[in-house]
Amino acid sequence: MSTNIIIDAVNITKQYGDFKALDGLSLQVERGGVWALLGPNGAGKTTFLKCLLGLKEFSGEIKIDGYDIHKDPKKAKFQIGYVPQHPSLYREMSVQESLRYFGDMRDVKRSRLRELLEFVGLELWARQPVGALSGGMQQRLMLAVALLSDPPVLLLDEPTANLDVNRQVEFRNLISLLVKEGKTVVLTTHLLGDVDHIAEKIMLLNKGKLVVKSSVSDLFKQLDLTSQMFVEISDNANEQDAISALEKAGANDIQVKGNWFEMRIDPSKKISAINNLREKGCTINDFKIEEPNLEDAFKKITSGEEN
């Protein structure tokens, strides 16, 4: 199967009593790259991820690389490597035994086990029981298990939530390597830093529905999110001239605090604003820019949904 759509979910509904965790959700994920599945608590992120794996009963249709998770669950699951939020391997098994156990289920050669142990940096812990490993090591071992049969899709549920900062960086680096190999990575996260660092594309869920599916940069454009710019000009500049120069460049909400001018401006018009100030003879002593971030986007979208 080699169409460009690797995950195809159509009209997915998952209900718990009266509560609809997923409400007729349809989405397609194109092959390759890191896709972040975002949303507030209860939006349906983890539920959707588990539906992709057939771990939840649902109505609708999900195909993974062309295989229907209801009709052909083994083949569909064979296309997926899964890393849950909490370590879920058998604690009494050794690292090596765990890889062998899950590897045999996927018909993996022994040489692949050694490769993966090296890839996740656990070769020295091969004989240790899983229960004796730190949280970060267990997370890496689960990534190794997920990669056993070299599946085209990786599903990661809050992959960095339980890791310290250094381990988060290590884990993100591993994911970047996998994306370079052509894998499609779908991750849920509530840490927007994760998205800024590794995801190129986002799917935002709210109340069980897909609200946005976009690249991060397109999202900012769609939402008309602006940069926050701060410019310090010299004492001898005329304040009104400076304001009109900035307004000409499209800045708005301009506030003056001493020599500092604070404004909101379209990210593409920052340079024009600086040039206009210079043309008016203003000497620029310093400036700072705060680019729009996902948190702003997230707030804007979800507040719009609430209203």
Partner: protein, 278 residues
Amino acid sequence: MTSPFLMIMRKELKDSLQSKWLITFGVTFFFLALGVPYIILGAGGLLPGDYPGMVVGTLVTLAVPLVPLVSLAMSSTSIAGEREVGTMEYLLAQPATKFEVFFGKYLGLVTALTLAMFLGYGGAELIVYSTNPEFVMSFIYALAYSLLLAGASVGLGFIVSVSVKTRAAAIGTGLFLWFVLVVIYDSGFLGVITVALDADSLLIPLTLANPVETTRILALMHMSESPLRGELGPQAAYLLQEYGSITASRILSGVLILWVVVPVAISYLIFRKQDATI
């Protein structure tokens, strides 16, 4: 590719054989059934001629409470325990069907119990065979019915296991079920009901409604020469009187087989319809 079913079954078998429940059961069963009385009586030169018959009767008397105890304790935690720690969800995320996971675990557990019972009964059979071969068939019946009882108890334990959320709740419910099936039934429950209602005909349905009672009567009915056959009780006497021994034995065997098949089918149907975590 190694079948996930075989891998899961092998793991369940290995884990069960290492379980303290099964080790305690195997050793206790072996010594209680054979070792202690045989060694004491043998050492004192007091071994009676009908000792093999006593052994078979003792095995049934011991197996009836012990087999469901260990089977329910182990099976009730089998799925609930894995769900609680997240390994069940992870297992189901692998290329394995719910059928393979469920029956891999079921058969792994039943195989472990079978091995433990072969150990318990096996030592006894050697002695029985070496002293009085005519009791061997009674012994084989006792073993067969104990295995069916183990199958039925594991099925009941699996219904508990797929229905509760935690390991603690599972083992509590499993042991309560054992208490009802073994202790309450055995403490004159049947007699009290039938006498109170003056309805002998209730004896049979009430007996058949309990796999433990069904097994006990069935096994003892096959011990034509056992001195313990006199302990059949009112239910068996009524059955024999109403249907004769062959029909009674067929009815009881059929019901015991249903007790093996129906609970496991019910628990699988529940498991199949459920999310991986409940």
